[in-house]
Symmetry: C2
Subunit: 265 residues, 2 copies
């Protein structure tokens, strides 16, 4: 499986993706799901991929070759981000169709879902989710982020934290926490985590990180989050039926179970 | 859809469930998904239901009638919680089969998934998840909770907080936060939230709550959680590329986006 998220903010865009692919539990591999394309100073695109690995690799190859060869309607010359999404949807559908008949006989699905984001000189930064059928949606003021893959575990924290005015750094931390939560709850999502933070109007790949599981920043972030989440529980209001002295006893710890309290005596 | 969770702790059991059922977005109703059965001082059972509403209603009716009539092998006389799970699985399969042929012609699935928990005099409290096929699984030291229905949104917070030694009150708050997060991210899960906290060896229905959306405790809990989660973000370590003075400026607020900072000048 996969988990990728892209966020559109007033200040720019945040992209984050895991790197685990699996075809059955004994065929687990590591592949980057974040692909970048640019014409210096004029346009910058980021594509995040989920779904059939052969399809997504074929799609990314086509995108690269078309851009290098300056194919009309490719990333080389599209005038708007929505045109880029339209083009990506077309390439996605074409690559799926090449093998879909043979694949369906084996019960395999060729589908891929993608996110494309970026900026073209003269327009605002935008992000789009592109479906296997080639159609696509973008964000709104109330829906500032798009996800693909195993997206449910990591959605609540994004729903709570992210708004259009969230700063790029906070949004990036939130995306990392969202992926970390997903990795803890689901084995098919795994490190390294790739992050790219795009500051609007810079047309530059400045803030890119590839965080392995033992990366010092990632470890300090996830550890701090784990501690802070536990602290966040301590101050929650007690139920009537809980011991009247409960609040005083708690300090910065959870309640001890009765069994643990007995053992401590 | 539905979201129910049951937790097995050293001190007892926690059950929580939402109350929304839907057959399409224009047929949304409110039904309790928590059903309780007891023989005073001897045995106590809680059944949580997810899936086809006609099936779960038929199952609960059978459970009640069998118990009232003292049917052999029913909740009235099973000797172990695993026997109760076995019996519940049999009833579930039988009720599904009654209409499954007709339903499948209409493309409707009769399946139901249930959680049963409780205690029988002389045994420990236990919980089981019962599948549509009638088989069942229980908890372990490393997997102290079971979920049914729309379970992914609310799983990360349970994974972080719940262990066997968690106190009943903390586990109950965690279950409520888990359901609240799910309700925010998914419209098919909705209030009122029912909660039952069973203290081991009491064989009593002491701590039962049915919390409507405007319940004062639920509102204070979800509001406190929302604030605490946001605070939990403030102390997270900054990236190198964030403004050097960033940490000082943050205080207990998030970073302001550049656009917001400009507007404030």
């Amino acid at each position: 499986m996969t988990y990728c998220v892209a966020i559109k903010l007033d200040d720019g865009l945040v992209f984050a993706s895991d790197s685990r692919t699996n075809a059955g539990v004994d065929q687990v591999s590591t592949y980057s799901k974040m692909h970048t394309f640019e014409t210096e100073g004029d346009r910058i695109f980021v594509v995040l991929t989920a779904g059939n690995l052969a399809t997504t690799q074929a799609v990314v190859n086509r995108l690269k070759r078309d851009m290098e060869e300056g194919v009309e309607g490719s990333f080389a010359d599209v005038a708007h981000m929505s045109d880029a999404a339209e083009y990506l949807g077309r390439v996605n559908r074409e690559e799926q169709e090449k093998h879909s008949e043979a694949l369906s006989k084996s019960g395999i699905v060729a589908e891929a879902t993608l996110i494309i984001g970026g900026q073209i000189q003269g327009s605002e930064p935008e992000i789009y989710r592109v479906y296997p059928q080639g159609n696509y949606i973008t964000t709104s003021q109330h829906t500032p982020f798009l996800q693909i893959g195993e997206s449910k575990y990591g959605k609540p924290i994004l729903d709570r934290i992210i708004g259009p005015s969230t700063a790029l750094g906070d949004a990036t931390r939130c995306a990392l926490v969202s992926i970390d939560s997903t990795m803890r709850s689901n084995l098919t999502v795994g490190p390294p985590i790739e992050v790219f933070v795009y500051e609007a109007d810079t047309f530059a790949f400045e803030h890119y990180l590839c965080l392995e599981a033992d990366n010092a920043y990632l470890r300090s972030l996830t550890q701090a989050w784990d501690e802070n989440i536990k602290k966040a529980f301590v101050d929650l209001p007690l139920f009537d039926w809980e011991a009247a002295g409960g609040r005083k006893k708690r300090g910065t710890q959870f309640h001890l179970s009765k069994r643990a309290r007995k053992a401590a005596r």
